[in-house]
Amino acid sequence: MNVPDDLFYTEDHEWVMVEGDTATIGITDYAQEELGDVVFVELPEVGDAFTAKDSFGSVESVKAVSEIYAPVSGEVVEVNESLTDAPETVNEDPYGEGWMIRLKLENSAELDNLMSADDYKEFLKEEVG
């Protein structure tokens, strides 16, 4: 199970990469594996604003739908449009080309509420066994 060290994580299996005041968000390797083949990704528009824990979109596989929640608050500055035609990228490269949105961070203190890679690994162990 891939859990890159330099990212933050949520209990809903999203990851966050922070660069300055921009947060790039996607779903984790664990999440994409649980979902199965992703066939559809629904993402917001640039300019939409979210508060932490708001649902900002959804990821669908043949058998399941999962909402995706904003780990932190902010305004959408970029959306990964390539996922419309190639949703399977989420399965193939969840931490790289499978990124979903970029938010302009509203409050960097919110990052303290997220899990580190080690915390997330622990969390997975408890969740999955």
Partner: protein, 335 residues
């Protein structure tokens, strides 16, 4: 059978392009024997059992007096006094009790589900793969016919039937031979890319060709006429059958609802149970999913006959938002 083995999309496409194997042992088998087996089955099913010759199969249904489904079934005739009925897993007990209750004359009804493992080998290469394991000449087993003979030296029922819309076979075999035959199939099919296929693929394959699923598209509140299965109802057969009167009335009055296929126009996948809106009415999606072969979201829904026409627009509520969909012709997928 798990939801998926290697991936639902891959498994679905493997069945359409090559061959996939489903472990469908959960299905039930009920054996009907006796001198009065044929008249009994004529009475409890809506299709015409007298059309069956030995080693022939028929899709049919057990109906309630109001013409609605107890279950959809497959009837296999071994001989005039010996039939095997394949029933849905969830309805096995219900069907068995129903048949026992309506027995009359010299007939025995036995639930023999535990005697059989059932494997479905489906896809354009299914025959090539299975032929390697049996001396039975598969090319002589035509659609909806079956033979009894050795597969891996074990006596099996080999039937050219399936739930995918592809050519293929359903094997009924003794549980003790299951592992041997499963392994042999995969060995024989290695070159053509045989895949184990699970529930997700099973569902998307059958949905694409508009095969109904009991509990979703058909149940005790729907009739074969409403479900677009009028072809399994033989009102002209001599014998009276349970549900006949109700269906005759429905036929002359016209159905009030009809199972229609739709595809999403707006983005989103319509799933089972999602609310559907048209005019000032509301209903639900009976079956809905993403179609791997068509790369589109498709589904089935009951609509009034005048709305169940290709081109008619309906709205499906997906995660709180109403999105456009459109009635289309079915089957959605054609070879």
């Amino acid at each position: 059978m798990p939801v998926q083995y290697s991936g639902a999309l891959q498994e679905h496409l493997a069945v359409r392009k090559a061959v996939g194997v489903f472990d469908v042992s959960h299905m039930g088998e009920i054996e009907v024997r006796g001198e009065d087996a044929l008249p009994f089955l004529q009475r409890v099913t809506c299709n015409d059992v007298s059309r069956l010759g030995d080693q022939q199969a028929q899709y049919s249904a057990l109906l309630y007096p109001q013409g609605t489904f107890v279950d959809d079934i497959l009837i296999y005739r071994f001989a005039r006094n010996h039939f095997l009925i394949c029933v849905n897993a969830a309805n096995r007990e219900k069907d068995y009790d129903w048949m026992l209750k309506h027995r009359s004359g010299s007939v025995s009804v036995e639930d023999t589900s535990d005697r059989y493992v059932q494997l479905a080998i489906q896809g354009p290469r299914a025959a090539d793969v299975l032929q390697q394991l049996t001396p039975l000449q598969l090319s002589t087993i035509k659609n909806y016919r079956f033979a009894v003979g050795p597969v891996c030296d074990v006596e099996c029922i080999v039937s050219r039937t399936g739930y995918t819309g592809e050519d293929g076979f359903e094997l009924y075999l003794p549980p003790s031979a299951a592992e041997k035959i499963w392994r042999a199939l995969f060995e024989a099919g290695k070159e053509v890319g045989i895949q184990a296929a699970g529930l997700a693929a099973r569902n998307t394959l059958r949905l694409e060709v508009r095969y109904p699923l009991y509990g979703n598209d058909i149940d005790e509140t729907t009739t074969p006429l409403e479900a677009g299965l009028g072809w399994i109802v033989k009102l002209s057969k001599e014998e009276d059958f349970i549900g006949r009167q109700a269906l005759e009335s429905q036929k002359s009055e016209g159905v009030r609802k009809q199972l229609a296929g739709f595809e999403m126009v707006d983005s989103g996948i319509a799933r089972d149970g999602y609310r559907v809106f048209f005019d000032s009415c509301e209903t639900v999606v009976t079956s809905g999913s993403y179609s791997p072969s068509l790369e589109r979201a498709i589904g089935l829904v009951y609509l009034p006959p005048e709305r169940a026409v290709p081109g008619e627009e309906i709205a499906v509520e997906i995660r709180g938002r109403k999105r456009q969909a459109r009635v289309v012709e079915t089957p959605f997928y054609k070879k």
